[in-house]
Amino acid sequence: MWIIKRDLLLAMRRQSDVLTTLFFFIIVVSLFPLSVGPEMNMLRTMAPGVVWVAALLASMLSLGRMFSNDYLDGTLEQMLLSPQSLSLLVLGKALAHWLVTGVPLVLMAPVLGIQYDLPVEALFVLTTALLLGTPVLSLIGAIGAALTLGLRGGGVLVSLLVLPLYIPVLIFGAGAVEANMAGVGFDAHLSLIGAFLLVSLVFAPWAAASSLRVSLE
């Protein structure tokens, strides 16, 4: 879809936006081993939680830009007046947001996991969980970004709105890695994240599209 192409093209022209998110993630995850000290057992237990919290914060950092630039230059107005379904356009924008912010985090996670002395299998589970979970973050984030569009102090508001909704993904995402390290099966956790992904794929674009119509009225 060309809206994905457009957003990727814009991201290419503004690489700094993409890189800030990625470096934020890398730095936050790396701060913990430095501050807590090199105690392997402790690092190993906190690794999944730290990586996931950093991923939530990093993906939220770029949520403000998802619609606000388009709102300011009037292209969002034109999207609302497009004969194509607005929900599909929003889905396209959320996918582009995931490709630009989510995928780099997923690719970076195993490298950062080494800092925490995670076993290879746990690294694999962590990456799979992030791969399933980060699109949910972009999709739910789209609702928050659409609701706070054009509001003053929208950046803080969006975190208050969206972070509570991220909690289930956080619990099961981090839980999957912990379960694997404890020697228990992690399939249930991953299936639940998959279920979140399917539900948000159907529901989030529609909700975000309705919020956009309200925000622009």
């Binding site: 009037g74 292209t75 107005e77 009225e217």
Partner: protein, 204 residues
């Protein structure tokens, strides 16, 4: 045919206008006039479906635009105060993307031709952020050249344009009207347009 039936607009607790009635036939031009703050832009945003009227109804070929939605958007082009162009994209990318968004994809040749007509020949590969206000306006208006929609809703299309460009737009609008198109526009500048029927709508 576009019809407005006893339209009203309320902003906050202030009523901007009420009981606005009009009907626009094929080939017709409607000029919306009124002082600053009289609700011209609000009326146009209602007509294109961005906001809902506080009272009344807007009909397109006899059906409410609310229930038509996508079908209405496919027949209408709106150019508002905001140019609807992305600063980081080039002139030609902007035109091609905004056309695709409006439901008709065009190739590079068609886009270059439209931009050449708008006096932007040779600047296709420049990012829009380096253009002047008037040139950005031309990029936005180039959408009209490639669009195949019947109804054009234009909010102050002549702002920031030079004399030559105003003449170009005048020709473009007259040609559209001659081909049974419809134009709803606001402008503070004097512009002479010949149309099969001209309606003046005054907002107090």
């Amino acid at each position: 045919m576009l019809q407005g039936i006893s339209l009203a607009c309320v902003r906050g607790d202030r009523e901007l206008f009420k009981d606005i009635n009009f009907s626009l036939e094929a080939g017709g031009l409607m000029q919306v006039r009124g002082p600053n703050g009289s609700g011209k832009t609000s009326l146009l945003r209602m007509l294109c479906g961005l906001s809902n009227p506080a009272a009344g109804e807007i009909l397109w070929s006899g059906t409410s635009i609310r229930s038509l939605n996508g079908d209405y958007f496919a027949a209408m082009t709106y150019i508002g105060h905001l140019s609807g162009t992305k600063d980081d994209l080039t002139v030609i990318e902007n035109l091609r993307i905004s056309s695709a968004l409006a439901g008709f994809e065009i190739n590079d040749d068609q886009a270059s031709e439209a931009l050449g007509y708008m006096g932007l020949g040779g600047r296709e590969a420049l990012p829009v952020k380096v253009l002047s206000q008037g040139q950005r306006r031309r990029v936005a208006l180039a959408r009209l050249l490639v669009s195949k929609t019947a109804l054009w809703i234009l909010d102050e299309p002549l702002v920031a344009l030079d004399v030559m460009a105003v003449k170009l737009i005048q020709e473009l609008l007259e040609q559209h009207l001659k081909q049974d198109g419809m134009v709803v526009m606001t402008t503070h500048q004097e512009i002479d347009l010949t149309a099969a029927s001209t309606t003046q709508l005054h907002l107090a």
